[in-house]
Amino acid sequence: MTPRTGSFIGRRQLLRQAAAAAGGAALGWWAGGLLRPGHGAARAAESPVAVAFWHGNSGPLGNILDALVSQFNATHPRYQIRSEFVGNYTALNQKVMSAVAAGTPPDAAQAGAYGAVAEYLQENLIVPVQKFVDGPDGLARQSLADIFPGFLEDNTFVVGGRPTLVSWPFNKSVMVLYYNGTMLRSLRLGVPRTWDEFVTASQRAMRAGKVTAGMGWTPGSDFFAALLLQNGGRLLSPDARQVQFQSDAGVRALAFLKDLYDRKIMYLTKQYDWQNDLVAQKICFAVSTIVSQQYIQQDLKGAWDLGVAPLPAGPRRATILFGSNGVIFAHARPEAQAGAWAFFKWWAEPQQTALWSVQSHYLPLRRSALDTQIMKHLFAQDPRQRVALDSLEYAHPMPDNVAAWVRIDPVLTDAITKAVTGLAAPRDALQDAASRANTILRG
């Protein structure tokens, strides 16, 4: 062992002195920070408020979103939006669930369909954006009225007995009809505007041996809902206390789907198989959201002309809105919440929403975006892009703002499948589903 002399210190003594020096330095730094006037504010000005934003847009859509986020960050030095792709809407919901359980949700997120916003609201996890809309950095009534009404309807929930804007429209789309333009032209067929014309065109294409069926469809409640609305029905009563899809309008809508299936004009598929079948020209029509265009075009590689048309009309016109909305989490620091709101507000401004729409095929959020140069240019180049916008006037959202809908939706989908495949009569299937759905609604 080294003898202890004047010029050597022991290990313990060395550690003690090092700890004392470090403590002193930390104290001095802290005290210095306190004594320097305006130092905290200066630091805040230097480092922008970080806002974690989770989303579900991958691939080309994610790149477009990230580019817009960079643009926001460059023009808003107070905030730094950190966008993070966390998977599709289902995965996004799952990750938010896990993060909430761990006490670390993001500051803001896209909330996909399937009742996510309703669930977050029910558990007080989010701050209704109405607070920010009405706040000092809010929106003028005129600006709010510029947003398409269906998008506001989709995000409005009853909170404390009052309709309240809870989430903010983010990436919105609408159900349209896709068709094989090349094939229809070769058969001298026009684009169907009604379901009768759709049936005739499908049968002509099938008889000509061009396709196996008119369309392929993966059973779901949204297409049924569009037909229900076209027949004058509703999914839920206005007070959302009971379902109304079992009405005569619902039976007519379901009988029509069954008829398409029985006449082999429509066959059933799984997941997105119909998309592959359309590209492979096994069918000539498909019903889906306007954003599917991006994926179909990608697979098509210009082999034939993809047409987009409004959903054919029944006794009246109606279609369905899709897409996700933005939410701001309650646990976030007030400055992060303010940053998230600043981003959402900026996102919905005419230039940004037009840019997002042109690049992604999602819909612009407000009417005035249609007057921007970039959208006018798009419409001049590709008139198909107007189709979805024209549908907006009669588009309605699915009732995802009712928390119980997430459990009712599979019940309704099962009833639709049963009726279409002949396992139950349409009226019986809907009555049975309605009875179960009303039990769920009663809690």
């Binding site: 579900g56 799952q94 669930e119 196996t212 066959y267 059933l268 598929t269 997105y272 096994k282 499948t417």
Partner: protein
């Protein structure tokens, strides 16, 4: 079975004359001191060493198996959506037991287990018997049978869903070649008995054709694994026993029934237990084949058509992630755990009487 003498004791080397005085001391040093007579400090050191060895695995088990199990039990006692709400006691359990969807998913699971486990074991054994023969290219055959097991289950699920595509799949192409009517395979909710005979009600028709497709894919996936385990068991049967039986005149099926099958029964028992547990917990393959995982798809879609492939794990998953009913899903998960535990104990109880251990008491 007795070990050879050379492995049970070390043969002492003859002492030299120089070593002779040291013998008593060496002999004393070799005597094992009973644990209770060792100094306490040494016992602690040895114990600490042992704990240190088991700590990594033990901590992982505690963190990812035991803790979640107990925490799941805690969560199941509450109305729990995304966060904890009201305390419900055992109400979630009572509600799960009254839920027809839970019982339906349990019935689907039973169909699945009954369809999968015996088929995997029988096919695995037959493949192992074939692969244990001396044939040219035996290693290649073994690789081919084992290949599905080391391939991504999700990728295989997607490929098989193309094979079973109702409109343009390979399975229907084969049926057309045989002049048989095409089927809707994974989209067919009707039971196979109802399809064969007709006139049977929806649930009395047996497992849906969609579930049978899932069973076929599962069996195809796991047969290779079972075959490899059986191959090891077959290789462990001493040749003398087979030779002695042959000398006694046993041949072919008699040899298989009286010698091979009884002597691989511990392996059969082991495979039956793990295959049953695995089939009850099956998730990925059912999820991939029956509609889950589509971009933007609803979690609650998996298990179709009409819930006829919704096994219990999918019911739990849908309730948890699709409906945000975490407490309820936890109660269902723990009930599945109890069912599995009871079933495994029953298997141990019944199976151990019929298992023949080589050289053991039976």
């Amino acid at each position: 079975m007795a070990l050879p003498a050379s492995r049970s004791t070390a043969a002492p080397s003859p002492p030299t004359a120089a070593e002779a005085p040291e013998r008593p001391r060496l002999a004393r040093a070799r005597v094992a001191v009973p644990a209770g007579l060792r100094p306490p400090a040494r016992r602690w050191t040895r114990a600490l060493g042992a704990y240190a060895y088991v700590a990594p695995a033990g901590l992982l088990l505690l963190a990812f198996q035991v803790y979640p199990l107990f925490y799941g039990g805690y969560v199941s006692l509450f109305r729990w959506g995304l966060t904890r709400q009201a305390f419900l006691g055992i109400a979630n359990y009572a509600q799960v037991l009254r839920d027809p969807e839970f019982w339906r998913s349990l019935l689907v699971t039973v169909y699945y287990v009954v369809g999968v486990v015996p088929a995997e074991i029988v096919l695995g054994f037959l493949v192992a018997v074939l692969l244990s023969q001396r044939v040219r290219g035996r290693a290649a055959y073994r690789l081919v049978y084992f290949l599905p097991y080391v391939t991504s289950m999700v990728a295989l699920g997607l490929v098989w869903s193309w094979v079973f595509n109702a409109n343009f799949g390979l399975a229907n192409a084969v049926l057309r070649l045989l002049h048989l009517p095409p089927q809707r395979w994974l989209l067919e909710p009707r039971g196979v008995l109802a399809l064969l005979r007709g006139g049977l009600s929806f649930w009395a028709g047996g497992p849906s054709l969609a579930l049978v497709c899932v069973i076929v894919v599962t069996v195809w996936y796991y047969t290779g694994f079972h075959a490899v385990v059986y191959l090891a068991a077959l290789a462990a049967i001493p040749m003398e026993i087979h030779e002695a039986a042959r000398l006694d005149g046993a041949r072919g099926w008699r040899l298989m029934r009286s010698i091979t099958i009884p002597l691989v029964s511990p392996t059969t028992f082991f495979l039956a237990v793990i295959a049953t547990i695995g089939a009850f917990q099956s998730f990925s393959i059912v999820y991939t084949l029956t509609g889950g995982g589509a971009a933007g798809g609803n979690a609650a879609e998996a298990g179709g058509p009409l819930g006829t492939t919704r096994v219990v794990t999918l019911f739990i998953f849908n309730t948890f992630y699709g409906e945000f009913r975490v407490g309820y899903a936890m109660a269902a998960a723990l009930l599945l755990f109890v069912i599995l535990l009871a079933l495994t104990l029953l298997q141990l109880c019944l199976g151990s009487r019929r298992v023949h251990y080589l050289g053991g008491a039976g």
